[in-house]
Symmetry: C2
Amino acid sequence: MKWNELGSVRCSVARSVAVIGDRWTLMVLRDCFLGVRRFDDFEARLGISRSIIADRLKHLVEEGVLRREAYQDRPVRHEYRLTDKGLALHPVIMAIVHWGDVHYADEAGPPLLHRHRACGCDFTPVMTCSACGESVTAREVEVRAS
Amino acid sequence: MKWNELGSVRCSVARSVAVIGDRWTLMVLRDCFLGVRRFDDFEARLGISRSIIADRLKHLVEEGVLRREAYQDRPVRHEYRLTDKGLALHPVIMAIVHWGDVHYADEAGPPLLHRHRACGCDFTPVMTCSACGESVTAREVEVRAS
DNA sequence: CACCTCCGTTCGAAAACAGAACTCATGTTC
DNA sequence: GAACATGAGTTCTGTTTTCGAACGGAGGTG
C-alpha cells in the first residue's frame, strides 16, 4: 500500500486520512479555523517552506476542503477559505485540540480557550450519540460491517 | 520548522499532531480501536512494510498511547493495547470516520456501522458543548488565548 | 535438523523537505 | 522613471526522511 492508494480503500478512516492525514495539512487546517486565509500568513505562522504550503493548499482546494477566492483585483490576490466540507472538519480539529489540551498542556494550562457563543461558556468538546444524546466512550461502541 | 520541533510549539494541535499526525499512525490507531493487537495482524490489515509498523508502534508506546504487553511466554510474544491515553483518542478517530462517511461513502453507504451499547442504536458522533450540552458548529465557537 | 511463526532490524532507493532564488503583476517612493 | 515593495506563488539544489524488500533471530514443531 502506498499513500496515493489509501483513498481507494473501502474505509472511511483511510479515505479521510488520504486527504487530511498529513502533519502540515492538519496544521494548515488548524490555522484556517483560526481565521488565517492568505498565503503569506500561513507561511509566517507555520514557518515551513513555501513549496509545502503551496502544495498543501492546492491539494485541499482540489479536495474541496478549501476554496480559492479573489479578494481584490489589480493586482488579483486570492485567499483560501473553508468550504462547508472543510467546516465539517471542525469536530476533528476540536477533538485533536482537546486531546492535546488534556495530555500535553503545561503549567499555564491549555494555550487556547473555546467559547460556545450560544451559551457563553468556555467549553470542551464532548462526543455524544446522535440517537440518545448521551456521551459515548470507546468501550460503549460496537463496530460492525454495514 | 521541522517535524520533530512540532511537539514543542505551544499549540495543542501541534503537540497532538507530532504524536498522531501521520497517515500510518492514524491507520494503526484505527485498527487498535477495531481490536487489532498483534504485529502481524497490523501488517496483514495495512499491507505496508514491517519497518513502518515497527516504527509507528514503538513511537506510540513511547508516547504512552499503546502499551506493549506479553500475552504468552515461551516464546515471549507481545501485543499492543490502547492505554487510557490511547482510548482518549476515540473521539478523534470517530470524528475522522464520520467525516469520511459523509464525504467519501460510495453507493453502498458507510463501510462500518457503530452501535452505542447503552441505547442500542446505530449512531453518528455529535460534538456537543460540555457546558450546555447542545451540539456545537464551527461558527458558534470563539477562540481566544488563555 | 529442517521448517515454521512471530517480531522485528538493516539497507539502498525513492520521496519529501528547507531554503534560496526567480517570476510576475501591480503599487509606491524618490 | 528607476528603484524598491508586496503578495502569491514556482523552480532549483542538496539534505533528510520514509519506505519496501530482504534479512535475522529466538523459540517451537515434526
